[in-house]
Amino acid sequence: MMRIEFELNGEPRVLETPAERRLLAILREDFGLTGAKPGCEVGRCGACMVWLDDLPTNACLVMAWQLDGRSVTTVEAIAADPRSESVRAALAECGGLQCGYCTPGLVVTMTHLADCSPRPDAACARAQLAGNLCRCTGYGGIQRAVERLFPTADAGD
């Protein structure tokens, strides 16, 4: 067991937990924050994405000992943040979600990208989003949302 102090969605938290426990399990089991979803638990699907010190990170790859002194922001807080509004609107209006299981992870990554200064172009956003798998949409709606949110440098093909 080790004692960890970290910030979760803006609140200071103290935790006594095994050092090798995963952030994903901590969020879901200890804090009831089930927005981060277990999909693969090897950092491949992106369904458990959170911000770790403001950078999109797979919560399944972060161990408790790495959390001390860090800040974690989950989709529950990001979705309530006005910065995510345009992302959520674009995904909803473009049909960028279906079963919705990958959706929290997408909101976490896309809100980060939309908040970057300067904003990445569509090609760069696409590359960043390759870490968020979606099995339902075929990425049609997600692609349309990306095009709406991110300026395209080269207008042609």
């Binding site: 999909g39 699907c45 369904a47 209006e93 079963c99 390759a130 339902c136 075929g138 990425y139 049609g140």
Partner: protein, 761 residues
């Protein structure tokens, strides 16, 4: 492009009609609770954690199981093995062969032997590790064809042949003699993984009255409830299954997997039990797409008229039957295509092996044979020097001709209409394979038709209900589950249109065996069509009933009233009584109209034959990197003739999502086995498409139905997969003049082909 046909919705027109899903806002805020998001019972008590001890061997006899050390471990509340099951120990669909817990034999890696419920997952797993199982290893049956040999080790009593099919017509020998061009080849399709992001799991809790409540993703809650009740010797009504929402299914959650084990643990411990498979466990135990080996020989005359077609299929069904027999039936039926063959012979066999379990998967047996068939058709067209589109159009069956099994089918001219649309498309008109040094480009065309619902004799009947809730909402209650297909929107659109109310008057009650009648499985692309028929045929009756109930409080005759938007209105349209006030005036006597739909089946006496077909054609454009051998899908145009589009969002999503899954089957997705073991057990070793792999989609809806059609919309759930895999294969074949014989087309196959001397295909 300006389609001449008024019923054609271009991609832009479809996009203009897309609106946010009714559940979008909640899903985007992570406010939707999936079954695996539950860690406590309804009363708030922490659930116990379940773990399963699965077989480490693909094939073995169980000699002894000793659970004493696990039982004695502090924190363990229940340990179950097969003898703990009070009732039915096996389940299945057409063939009941799958043990809930294995007692005497294991037939695949991960086959459940015992399960534990404990205070923590770590304790549950530690307890599983303490269970001693003595095995006698059996030879592993790996190859489906060898499995069918007389001297093969058998998995089940009665041998390894699970199902076989055969049908045909015409004078085959004479047709072969008359053929100018004959194409003969062997094709292979790989094992594909569903890749739903939410692995199998959920929570089962005692309901306090002797029964159980099961929160587990499924496609047919009533059937899950029945299996669990039978297992526990409970009356069916004492098990309530809530199977929605679902974090992806694609057929993979149609039949039960671990729900019975979770229920048994809850039953034995008397506590809520949460059980979820890890991704590697889910890979081992979840069903996969059936790998097929397909031999085809087909011929046409010098003018390009098809003369004969022979197909021989062998599929690997793995350890248990589940949907295997129906999948072979579908493979056989769709091996014929929408084409007119004067002579035909199709036969197929389905073999048990120790290679995991194959089961229902979007595209359902058909996509495998459609890939092979479309290759045959393209090669015959090429042999005749006729373009693939003209060749297909020339050889279509007439819209009112009999179906692929010779059965009577609902007349449908979809195949011709989708070809007409694509014939005018710039991508088709400008298709020339392009060679740009390192990269080669090609455009492929494919055409499929595909069946709706289950075949004749299948569970095609359905029940749904319309009811008035105490708060005045008009509820459409059905056992179908929402797994992303936008069923809630479909209920609203159809409800408003066919019940005359506003969308805001409606509420969808889905996927709960206690609150909705048994609608059958949310499978076989059937839910929208059943809602369309059920509400369409009984909407007037419902409105009449509401008017009759509203007449006394309003002091009017029922025929002076109409059920409209917001409530009961007078003949002049003025709102007289809101649905909320009507409900309040009725107290407990709220109306419910139970609708029973008979199976919509072909009148022909042909087992498993389908009555209703939809159609799709597609153009796929690929760019092949001749250095790496990687084929990239850059563009895909799909024209789908499925009758009226009910939910544009649902339609578009099903087409694009299905197509990407079909493209995955064609390009990257395969799960090989060795010694009965999967060679990948997570998403790092099994490659599903990412956003970087997605093409530019153009989806075109070819609406409209033949005059007098009473069937309504054709299902959109599967056909995107069915069309995409052959279309991508055709595109690669076109780009490289490559005889594509197996899916997926991996870089090594492409490099092998490019290394081959000219003409040595």
């Amino acid at each position: 492009m300006n389609p001449p046909d008024a019923d054609v919705l271009t991609h832009e027109a479809l996009l203009a009609r897309v609106r946010p899903r009714p559940d979008a806002a909640d899903k985007l805020r992570a406010q939707v609770r999936y079954p695996t998001d539950r860690y406590a019972s309804a009363k708030g008590e922490s659930a116990l954690h379940g773990a399963i001890l699965g077989s480490p061997h693909p094939h073995a006899r169980i000699l002894a199981i000793d659970t004493s050390a696990a039982v004695a471990l502090p924190g363990v509340h229940a340990v179950v093995t097969a003898p703990d099951i009070p009732g039915r120990t096996h389940y299945g669909l057409r063939v009941i062969d799958r043990p809930i817990l294995c007692a005497d034999k294991v037939r695949c890696i991960g086959d459940p032997i015992a399960a534990v419920a404990a205070d923590t997952l770590a304790i549950a797993r530690a307890a599983c590790a303490l269970i001693r199982v003595e095995y006698a290893l059996l030879p592993v049956v790996e190859d489906p064809e060898l499995a069918l040999a007389a001297d093969a080790e058998t998995l089940h009593e009665g041998g390894n042949l699970l199902h076989s099919v055969r049908h045909g017509w015409g004078e085959l020998e004479a047709a072969m003699q008359a053929a100018t061009h004959v194409v003969e080849d062997e094709y292979e399709t790989a094992r594909q993984m569903h890749g739903y992001l939410e692995t199998e799991g959920g929570i089962v809790e005692p309901d306090g009255a002797g029964g159980l409540i099961v929160h587990f993703a499924c496609q047919h809650p009533a059937r899950d409830a029945e299996v669990i009740a039978d297992m526990l010797r409970l009356p069916a009504g004492m098990v309530r299954v809530i199977g929605t929402p679902i974090g992806g299914s694609y057929g993979g959650k149609d039949e039960l997997t671990i729900q019975p084990v979770a229920a048994l643990l809850a039953w034995k411990s008397g506590r809520a039990v949460r059980l979820q498979l890890s991704r590697p466990e889910s890979v081992d135990l979840g069903v996969k797409r059936h790998p097929f080996r397909i031999r085809m020989k087909s011929g046409c005359d010098a003018q390009g008229r098809l003369l004969f077609h022979m197909a021989s299929l062998v599929a690997d069904t793995g350890a248990y039957a589940t949907h295997g027999p129906e999948i072979l039936d579908a493979a056989q039926e769709h091996a014929v295509g929408p084409y007119a063959w004067p002579a035909l012979a199709v036969e197929g066999r389905l073999a048990y092996t120790n290679n995991g379990i194959a089961g229902a998967f979007r595209g359902f047996g058909a996509v495998q044979t459609q890939f092979a068939l479309e290759r045959q058709i393209s090669r015959l067209a090429e042999a005749c020097g006729i373009d693939g589109l003209a060749f297909r159009r020339m050889n279509l069956v007439a819209p009112d001709a009999s179906g692929p099994m010779g059965q009577v089918v609902a007349p449908f001219d979809g195949p011709r209409r989708v070809l007409d649309v694509l014939a005018e498309h710039p991508l088709w008109q400008q298709r020339r394979p392009r060679d740009e040094g390192r990269y080669r480009h090609g455009v492929g065309l494919a055409l499929v038709h595909r069946s709706d619902g289950f075949g004749r004799g299948g569970p095609n009947a359905a029940r749904i209900a319309i009811g008035l809730a105490p708060d005045g909402a008009i509820e459409i209650r059905c056992g179908f589950t929402e797994m992303g297909q936008n069923l809630i929107d479909t209920v609203r659109v159809l409800g408003a249109r066919l019940l005359g109310c506003a969308e805001s008057d409606l509420r969808a009650v889905l996927g709960d065996s206690a609150r909705a009648p048994d609608s059958g499985s949310t499978a076989a692309s059937r839910a929208t069509a059943i809602l369309w028929r059920g509400l369409g045929r009984h909407g007037a009756e419902w409105r009449k009933r509401l008017c009759a109930l509203a007449a006394p409080p309003l002091g009017r005759m029922p025929d002076q009233l109409q059920a409209g938007e917001g409530g009961i209105r007078g003949a002049d349209g003025a709102l007289l009584l809101s649905y909320a006030l009507l409900a309040a005036s009725l107290g407990d006597a709220l109306p419910e109209l139970l609708i029973s739909l008979e199976a919509e089946e072909t009148p022909s006496d042909i087992a498993a034959a389908h009555y209703v077909f939809g159609a799709c054609a597609a153009l796929a454009e690929v760019r092949v990197d001749t250095w790496s051998g990687r084929a990239e899908l850059t563009r895909m145009v799909i024209a789908a003739a499925l009758g009226p589009v009910i939910s544009p969002q649902g339609f578009l999503g099903q087409m694009e999502g299905g197509a990407m899954m079909g493209a995955g089957l064609a390009l990257t997705e395969h799960l090989p086995t060795a010694g009965g073991r999967y060679l990948a057990r997570n998403l790092d070793g099994y490659l599903m498409p990412t956003l970087m792999d997605a093409p530019r989609f153009e989806i075109i809806a070819v609406q409209g139905l033949p005059e007098g059609d009473e069937i309504g919309p054709r299902g959109a759930g599967e056909i995107g997969v069915n069309i995409a895999a052959p279309a991508v294969a055709e595109a690669i074949a076109a780009a490289l003049a490559m005889p594509v014989r197996r899916l997926p087309v991996l870089p090594e196959h492409i490099l092998d082909h490019l290394d081959m001397p000219e003409g040595a295909a």
